[in-house]
């Protein structure tokens, strides 16, 4: 019998209604959550999977999660056994060695039933501000995953719509910021429920048969478009090598290597040659490396391509076991995203000669966590806070890298200062662009960002970041961006540098200062339009001296003009 034709309007309606269901999951999560990291910074993701555990629709929040989620959710459900999940049940999981990522990213997954028939799964992942372990906010340099916090294999936290009190108390007992975390778990439950309701509405309208048939078509549609996009990529073998600057215990760089092969069989990513895993927080799980490759491939495709299983099936990754790109138990994983995002910079660097107009020069390319906690003297509660700080973007073939933005798979917002100070005992004393931090180029990198925290009470503070040795790389003659600075300032004393992966005890009045890297430049700086250099100088983004030395442009600051003849002299000398 011939297959019934696909009604193009019904197709679009169902496709968009599914995406809308995922978006509403995200809204419910954000609006009912408690921690700043979830409710404001949007460090979470939501998605709908079909009954065969294929990714169908996702909310546009954090690409890093979305790419890893598609591996974690099927593995978690398979391990628990789909037959053990009934209506209203939900499983909780964060096991890095069960398809997960770092422990803070906890997924809650619930089956969706239409009557007594399983029709799919809603799942949401939130970065919890604390999961126990050796330091507040559960970021820090440790030797084994056991020190990093609570490891949760798939467990049924919600049974028939109600929290299992025993399990819930057991989980919360491991966690410092109990009130916030409990609120965030309730928000995750609200998110899955909202998704299930919307899915039921769609089925009610179109019937289960049509629902399933159109899900197949939605995935096939993405498959067709992805195949066409892949065919358009330049063929060849492209590779790059780079580093994570240190591992938190030794000062040795962590070597990364990536090779991308594009041919008639599609695109293959290979991280062979990357360092063996460390007893240090720089190890990526396979899901994280997969996510980096998925992000890179997606960024090279048509902007309106919907991402689902039909896309992910084109992401082929070979990451040798036991390396920092596919670590094995019991390696610590909390800084795995640092490695993940650096791989993204390397992938684009590798592809630069073949696709010079599609990519960007080196970016901040680190998560750059700032985590702290302690007793809040006012409320008597143990609080934890976590955020990540933006930096410079890399220059592009026709435009400068934007200043102070998140990069690659990371797109979390800043924590509003007023919200932060209302809820946590900290004062942000400075939040500004770092002048002269850009990587010079014909199109310069973006500026890095400075954020200073003053602590009126004792606290424990963790830096989990990178880029303190090497700035983001330039391309085609562009120079690197600045290195990052992490420092502590004690009252009346000189500033002291901190390592990019360290935990310190703070006394009242201590200040921690972050100054993140600027992005790498694109093209030779002496080719930069002097008027663009002037505009940067007039905005105090770069200094008169830097304009002269790095761009060969002489600015007459009183007249607010380019000194054309001296500029010619500087540039000839070069």
């Amino acid at each position: 019998m011939a297959k019934a034709a696909i009604d193009p309007i019904k197709f679009e309606v169902i496709r968009n209604a599914l995406t809308q269901a995922a978006e509403e999951m995200a809204i419910a999560l954000r609006r009912s959550a408690y921690s700043t990291n979830v409710k404001t910074r949007q460090d979470f993701s939501c998605a709908f999977f079909d009954k065969n555990l294929r990714s169908v629709a996702q909310a546009f929040t954090q690409p890093v999660h979305l790419g890893s989620f598609v591996r974690h959710v099927p593995i978690a459900v398979q391990r628990y056994g789909p037959e053990n999940l009934g209506p209203g049940d939900m499983i909780l999981s964060n096991d890095p060695y069960g398809g997960g990522v770092h422990l803070n990213d906890i997924s809650l997954i619930g089956p969706v039933y239409w009557g007594d028939e399983l029709v799919g799964y809603t799942a949401c992942l939130a970065h919890h501000v604390d999961v126990g372990g050796g330091a507040p906010a559960s970021v820090g340099a440790f030797r084994e995953v056991f020190q990093e916090g609570i490891i949760i294999p798939p467990i049924k936290l919600v049974a028939k719509g109600e929290f299992d009190d025993d399990l819930f108390r057991l989980v919360l007992a491991q966690i410092r910021s109990k009130r916030e975390t409990a609120g965030d778990f309730r928000a995750q439950m609200a998110s899955n429920r909202t998704g299930a309701l919307r899915i039921n509405e769609i089925i009610e309208r179109y019937g289960l048969g049509e629902f399933d048939r159109y899900i197949d078509e939605i995935i096939e549609y993405t498959d067709r478009r992805t195949r066409a996009e892949v065919a358009r990529l330049p063929k060849g073998v492209f590779s790059a090598k780079g580093f994570v600057d240190n591992d938190g215990f030794t000062n040795d760089v962590v070597k990364l290597e990536v090779k991308i092969t594009i041919d008639d069989d599609g695109v293959r990513f290979d991280t062979t040659g990357s360092d063996l895993q460390r007893r240090a927080p720089v190890n990526s799980t396979f899901a994280q490396t997969f996510s980096a490759c998925a992000y890179a491939l997606r960024a090279l495709m048509d902007k309106d391509l919907p991402v689902n299983d039909g896309f992910y099936r084109y992401v082929h990754v070979n990451a040798p076991e036991g390396t920092v790109t596919n670590c094995v138990h019991p390696a610590p994983v909390v800084g795995g995203w640092e490695t993940h995002v650096r791989l993204n910079d390397l992938i684009f660097e590798a592809l630069a000669p073949a696709m010079p107009d599609a990519i960007c020069a080196g970016t901040k390319a680190m998560q750059c966590h700032s985590g702290f906690g302690g007793e809040n003297h006012e409320t008597g509660e143990y609080y934890c806070f976590l955020e990540t700080i933006a930096g410079g973007y890399g220059g592009r073939s026709t435009s400068d890298g934007p200043d102070a933005v998140q990069t690659h798979g990371q797109n979390t917002e800043n924590a509003p200062i007023e919200e932060t100070e209302s809820n946590y005992p900290v004062r942000i004393t400075r939040y500004e662009l770092v002048a002269d931090s850009e990587g010079p180029g014909e199109f310069r990198g973006g500026l890095g960002l400075r954020r200073d925290y003053m602590f009126p009470e004792e606290a424990t503070f963790t830096v989990l970041a990178d880029r303190d040795k090497f700035g983001p790389r330039g391309l085609f003659g562009g120079d690197p961006g600045s290195t990052s600075v992490y420092a502590i300032i004690k009252d009346g004393e000189e500033e002291q540098r901190l390592s990019s992966k360290t935990t310190v005890q703070l006394q009242p009045g201590d200040v921690i200062s972050y100054r993140t890297s600027g992005g790498g430049g694109y093209g030779e700086p002496f080719k930069r339009d002097p008027q663009r250099v002037l505009a940067d100088v007039l905005q105090d983004k770069i200094s008169v001296e830097r304009a002269r030395e790095h761009y060969g442009v002489e600015i007459d600051i009183d007249a607010q003009l380019v000194d054309e003849s001296r500029t010619r002299d500087h540039r000839v000398d070069k």
Partner: protein, 710 residues
Amino acid sequence: MTGTANAQFRIGVDIGGTFTDATLVDSTTGQVTTSKVLTTSSDPATGFIQSVQKLLDLDDTVRPDAIEHVVHATTVATNAIIEGKTAKTAFVTTEGFRDMLEIARQIRPSLYDLQFEKPPPLVPRQLCFEVPERLDAKGKVVTPLDEKALAEVVERIAESGVEAVAVCLLHSYRNPDHEQRIGKAIAARLPNIIISLSSDVVPEFREYLRASTTVINSAVAPIVSTYLASITEKLHAADITSELLVMQSSGGVYPAKAASDNPVFMVESGPAAGAVAAASLGTALGFPNVISFDMGGTTAKASLIRNGQPNITKDYSVGGAAQSGTGAFGGASGYPIRTPVVDLVEIGAGGGSIAWVDSGGALRVGPHSAGADPGPVCYGLGGEEPTITDANLVLGRLDPTYFAGGEMSLDLAAAQEAIRNHCAEPLGLTTEEAAHGIIEIANTAMVNALRLVSVQRGHDPRDFLLVAFGGAGPAHAVRLAEQAGIPRVLIPLGPGTASALGLLVTDMRMEGSSTLIVRSDEIELSQISSEFERLENAGREAHHVAASASGDPIFERAIEMRYWGQSFELSVPAPARDEIDQAWMNELTESFHDAHETAYGFRANDEPVELVNLRLTTVGKIARPQMRKLESTGTDASIASKGERPVYFAETPETKGIVQTVVYDRSKLPAGAVFNGPAIIEEPDATAVIQPSWTVTVDQFGNLSIEHNS
């Protein structure tokens, strides 16, 4: 009976990119009179008064002193932002934070686009100034305001030659003292400058959103206040001294003085009018679910109305890309404002949109518009590039001798020549084929806008009625509905000015709020009563300024609440009890738990509840005009026939495009008339094009109800 013998008439004026429309309603009879003039882009106030004067000339029984009020919708603020023509503005903030606007939320507007750009800040870095001072999160002074440093900043502001200043200090929503002192210092040195304090404009926490809203307020205030003053002056010169009201982005109206002080509330004034008109019409006719489609000379706007109410959002960005998605607080592609806005999608496709062939040999339409000046080629006002209106003329959809009811004749030969030279010949097409291509390309973009508000929000367009208006809406609506899968279209009487009618079917609404941020178990109940009383007094005073609008004001009290620890509030109506006592609080808390359960599927009875904002809306009820029934009835449409003319419809290939099509005079169509497409229906301010396979029924009020034959 509403209104008095002295204040019998109300006027609405809606200025679009191409036309300025005015509507007069007689409150006693519901009689509606309309006028239309070309928008005077260089000085829109001139077109405004021309349209009003034209109304008064049409009916000499209307005395200027019998006008109760004039309501206005304008795009002057949003145009200034989109075109980068806002006033030169300075930004003053707490020391250490001058990059607040530039850093924004540190996110990228699109996730997978390596070539993205951040929107440039409305205030360049060299005009952002810092003042040493600091409050803590409770509003307590940590660092006193440094008066000496302030004096220096004021001098630098004076030297910079700015027209406006926005002030946003950390935690000023808790304690406005430092902002107020800065405001006074600037005003003392620069008495003619406009100053917006964030603690006045939107006293809500989260500094970037408050700063962005405040900066937009000050950057458009010089433009808006000059503009409204000019209109007021012209109205006075015409002996109209009644109150000038302005439509807000949320669909309510407020007095011109309030609009001059707080223009950020009317940034999307123009589009809101159309949505309100469509909602009102849909409700009156028994269609609570409507997609509003308003196509004028410059842009087309779509919005979704459910249960008779336009969607209102506070997560809005001015100049943001049209997109669906949950980018927190409206995405990162424009400038966020934290004021209520009708949720709509606007695209650059209107009758004046210019068609052109790009370097790759593709036919393109827009985003450039010929606007009103020079306008389409066929207007004969100097336009040389072909537009959508020219294409409609070439296809026979418009009558060259009956444009604007015959007040203006169109130059068909010039339109044909322009399309031939600019589009047909470069592409190797016939002139008609090129003209049809122009229409179809523009339609594709408009169908996308309809889909953004419906399908992409998960609503099936088949469940909705498309209400089409604006001067160009009726010519495109039926074909759009066909492509978007909407089975039913309604074209109101006088579609060209329907949006202006929206101005006369809304109440006066003024919002007041007071920030508490206190837990329900720690609050002083007397504080709630005294704050509500203070807000009511302010609301009553503002209401009396516009006293002629209606009788006594109605107050709507609501409390924005959340669980202690959350950041997003749910608005809960205040319990209807005389006294604010513990029973009141218990009832309020219970309502909040209920609302939370409805919204998110769970309640947390043991969690502390926080009262964040008290909100008071002062409503001045304004009587609605009555729709008048048509006098003539009958099923026979032929009495309205003006004859036939050839019209190009590529939708029917068997006729090779040209179809002999009956042309109807809308004013002669009786209630109850039924006829089939293809058809053309002409009235003075718009021409409706009915595709084959659609049937038109004229309802008792003269609206065209058009249904697909399926």
